[in-house]
Symmetry: C2
């Protein structure tokens, strides 16, 4: 029983060790290591080349995504048929995303870019900042990560709302859903956080049509996927003053091309798609538990729905 | 029955309105407005000139600080004798401080200065960031503000410790106290947050002797008082690498003098003493409730102890 591993980060040694601890009878092998591909029953992967999972591994029982999203897998039209695709749901990936959301919400809430500019100019000027109950934070995407972010934003006292594809109910959060609920959601958000999965329905959703419904001077944080955003429309919304600032962890093309206007824009903050990363010390146990479920004849937890796209 | 108000911020109109709402029978007057000083029974003040409270107001029953600290009052050797000094304990001041602490802890935890530098240099490079349980945050000062900050840092999952003058017990927080407990506390802190009151005992406590006990490459956030810090020792600790970064909301001299080395230091972040501010919409009710206690013959809540210095 073998698991094949593929990441674009330098994390193989770490995952191997923790998978060994969590599932001692599971052989683990890196994507490029030679070995018997027919013995491979599980794949734990990030962005495998299209078609290769089907071509190389005839006995796959499950494909585990190394990231929360499975768009990198579902985009492959040549996947092995009938093999479940499993989303990575593990506490430390969720926690990293929450850290990122809370950091960047607080950064805008507390006008950090303004105070950084004042420091550069040696200006000491107190600017009154309202406290969290006076700041409306709206989250698009109310899955595990969105709800965990809301938990901490709620502990800080922000005025919270959320939007999701299907109806959700979260205590203390004004919930909207569906395209019909989008305008009511957007018109009352000072800081918009996007954590949506990338699907056919959400492609380019952060476009001019959506941004125009935000209050003037709103902030946008996208830690979902680059495909959610229309990058020209975002630049136009910054130029028009519709958006006062944008923080992006994800981009249409990654790494962000050297000549992209985002790099030098004074009101754009860029991070290199590192908002949340599955941690081997925590995630290996989740993968091992799901493998045990499969071996026990149960369905794995957190199976992606190809029809919904996530 | 009159309350006299003095702030160095432009907040008088706001406080007047909310005090009127909270205590309709209380006349409120600004420090520089003419009127009968003998009718003044309460003062709500920030940094009144030394001696003036005693000289002008013969019938004072309580002096309310507009800030959490009362050092600006206790430094006055010519206070009216026997008049209680009351610390400002109100939810939104506490919340503002917590926001500041959580923002700047997350900023260092998530290596924000590094990613800002990468953006300036158009560099896309993922640097692995541990999640909160692997980061040790230590708070000096475990009063209302310190404990509220710990509440939210705990929701984020940080490894937490605290230090205070007298012994405290806080679930989930490794608590140390007294000078004897300082070394054990400091040697296991990655991000040190100082929220101590400024007293004879804490004057210059953030000096070389203390900083040298931190792990190499630690971060310091001081949102207490400028008098707590030895600014030359902090600069030396940054130069030696003992400190990797420092965020300061308070300074020995405020506004920070134009020529101070902190302004342009690449690893120093400055804010203009605005971490937490009492909010009229929330604090007026607290002041009114304490005035009612006094009129009912009770002692006000949150009286400062001049012997302890806070």
């Amino acid at each position: 029983m073998t698991l094949i591993f593929k990441s674009d980060a330098d994390s193989w040694a770490d995952w191997r060790q923790h998978l060994r601890d969590a599932a001692p009878d599971l052989a683990c092998r890196d994507w490029d290591e030679p070995g018997d591909d027919d013995s491979v029953e599980f794949a734990l992967v990030w962005k495998p080349p299209f078609g290769e999972l089907r071509r190389r591994f005839r006995n796959l029982k499950a494909i585990f995504s190394l990231g929360a999203g499975v768009d990198h897998l579902l985009a492959d039209s040549d996947l092995p048929p009938g093999v479940p695709i499993v989303r990575m749901v593990e506490p430390e990936l969720t926690r990293g995303m929450t850290e990122y959301v809370v950091l960047h919400v607080l950064r805008y809430h507390r006008q950090t870019p303004l105070f950084e500019e004042q420091q550069r100019e040696h200006v000491w000027r107190v600017v009154p900042t309202p406290t969290a109950p006076k700041r409306r934070v709206g989250i698009m995407g109310l899955g595990v990560i969105g709800q965990d972010s809301l938990r901490v934003l709620s502990a800080l006292g922000f005025a919270l709302s959320g939007w999701s594809r299907t109806a959700k109910s979260i205590p203390g959060v004004t919930c909207h859903h569906g395209l019909d609920g989008l305008t009511a959601f957007l018109t009352e958000v000072d800081i918009l956080v996007c954590l949506l999965p990338y699907t056919a329905d959400t492609d380019n959703i952060l476009n001019r049509n959506l941004l125009d419904r935000l209050p003037r001077g709103a902030y946008l944080i996208n830690a979902g996927r680059g495909g959610l955003q229309d990058e020209d429309d975002i630049l136009a919304a910054l130029d028009s003053g519709r958006l006062a600032g944008v923080t992006l962890d994800v981009f249409r093309e990654e790494p962000l091309p050297a000549g992209h206007a985002f790099w030098d824009h004074p009101n754009v903050t860029i991070t290199p798609h590192n908002a949340g990363t599955a941690q081997a010390w925590s995630g290996a146990a989740e993968v091992a538990a799901n493998i045990k479920r499969i071996r026990d004849g149960q369905a794995p937890l957190n199976i992606a729905d190809p029809a919904a796209g996530y």
